[in-house]
Amino acid sequence: MATAEQALNLRGGGRSRRRRWANRLAEVVATLAALTAVAVLAIVVLSIAKRGLSEISWSFLTEPLPLFGQPGGGIAPLIVGSAILVAIATLIALPLGVLAALFLSEFASRRVAAPIQLVFDLMSGLPSVILGVFVFGLLVYGHTQSGIAGGFALSIVMLPLIARSTQETLRLVPDSQRDGALALGASRWRVVLGVVLPSALGGILTGTVLAIARAAGETAPLLFTTSIYLNSVQSDPRNALPNMPVQIFIWSESSDPEDHKRAWATALVLLAFVLLTSLLARAALHRSRRKLGQ
């Protein structure tokens, strides 16, 4: 039987002291690991910013490069080109991805859904260089490079991402919502269109934005399909379009230090775009979660 003193001894003895040290040690190690990860990102951002910031100016962002190798000018064609490529990719991947996810989540039986799910998983694991080669063989070989081919290649990158994130969002919509709508005598499609999809819109948007951020930076698919250097802004996707990732690659191979500086600056622009869209996507996701009542 414990004495009153022993019962009140809430401070603990030697064993608890060792426990406390172990706790503290684990905390410290975990924090250090987290800080390391943050540090890596910070180093990447800072080093690119350091090397590229000097080139950034309003004219850099809005003017094309000068015709005959003079200094100055900018990457306007690249920005426009990248934008068009991503737009084409989104136009293809968004409806396909959302519909595929809807099918998998709401309509397909277990047996049909499993293999399709597998296909999407494999697709997202495909090395982007292989995608580039594939689209090259499909659309470029025997014809010319084009923005359409580039956009198409990027859409293959985006498709599984959008499908997966749409699926996740649809899963978040509780079955009680579907039951409630079904019990009112609505058909399956009406339930999806009227109740499930509206609730999932926020998450779908987020997934799309994240996919865009990813696609904007893909280089390998574009190398094979729309790898071109132009002085002026091009907007016809039937021709090859200049774009940021490929151009960074090309400039980094050049011997001209001016080109190197331009490469760093372009990298900074691309990085800024990706970071900003990622943050935007997270904010949108947070808002849509709150709306769903989570």
Partner: protein, 282 residues
């Protein structure tokens, strides 16, 4: 006498032999014959024979796992959504077999509505919650009046008439449940199935729902599943008692007794019913 007297077993006097049901019984809405439900190879309920009458509140009571929810979900074909579901027997609604060839589940659910245990309003405005189904089903004329009528019948109009455009999620739990009831009656069904409608609500909200049911039964036929016996005793005209039957490794639900609520709670015919309503068996 110092020892406590334990009750000797009752003599088998036939308490069932009394005058017939006191609550006037009208038209038959559901005629259920030999209903057996299986999920895959597991039986959930077996051999249920019961008639549900118009404009009465019929309660379904029984211990957990005895198939009450399964039974009630058969009445509006909501079990169709569950994989492996199959049904034997006949479920006649005004003489039509609900599971017969050519019967559309959608048509069934337009006439037989359901309110669930946990309130599940859509993340839309209050107005849109009630108006969504009528719109979808083509009842587009007089939508405003329809919404007001439904909300009034659900005893919610006064609470929300000034904030129809606010989100439904801003309502309290009890109000949300009444909104779900309004949503269900907006499409003018004949039958309302309530699956433990008050179990997620506090006592006052529960009381409001019970009051509401008494008013609603004038216009609708109501079937309510409840695990709260006192609620069944307060609210229902007729009560069906389901219990668990164990046969080897099989466990399924059966209908033990179905009678006037008053009879069930003063002089039940079956010993199992007696044991359940007196709380003698957990």
């Amino acid at each position: 006498m110092n020892e406590t007297v334990t009750m000797p077993p009752m003599r088998p006097v036939d308490v069932a032999e009394r005058e017939g049901p006191k609550a006037p019984v009208g038209e038959t809405v559901f005629d259920i014959q030999g209903l057996t439900v299986r999920y895959g190879s597991n039986a959930a309920v077996k051999d249920v024979d019961v008639e549900i009458y118009k404009n009465l509140i019929t309660a379904v009571i029984g211990p957990s796992g005895c198939g009450k929810s399964t039974f009630i979900r058969c009445l509006n074909r909501m079990n169709d959504t569950i994989p492996g579901f199959n049904l034997d027997g006949r479920l006649l609604y005004h003489g039509v077999d609900l599971y017969g060839d050519g019967v559309e589940p959608i048509e069934v659910r337009r006439r037989i509505g359901m309110v669930f245990q946990k309130p599940n309003p859509f993340p839309k405005t209050i107005y849109d919650n009630v108006a969504w189904a009528p719109r979808v089903l083509g009842m587009k004329k007089g939508l405003d009046e329809r919404v007001e009528r439904a909300l009034t019948s659900a005893a919610l109009w006064d609470d929300v008439k000034d904030r129809l455009k606010k989100s439904a999620l801003s309502l309290s739990g009890g109000q949300q449940q009444r909104l779900c009831i309004a949503r269900a009656i907006a499409i003018e069904p004949e039958v309302l199935l309530l699956d433990e409608p008050a179990s997620a609500l506090d006592p006052i909200a529960t009381q409001k729902i019970e009051e509401l049911m008494q008013q609603l039964k004038r216009d609708y036929t109501i079937v309510i599943v409840t695990h709260n016996m006192q609620q069944a005793a307060r609210v229902a005209d007729r009560t069906a008692f389901f219990s668990l039957q164990v046969e080897g490794s099989e466990r399924y639900g059966i209908l033990v007794e179905y009678d006037d609520t008053e009879k069930l709670f003063t002089a039940p015919s079956d010993r199992r019913t007696e044991d359940y309503v007196t709380g003698r068996f957990g």
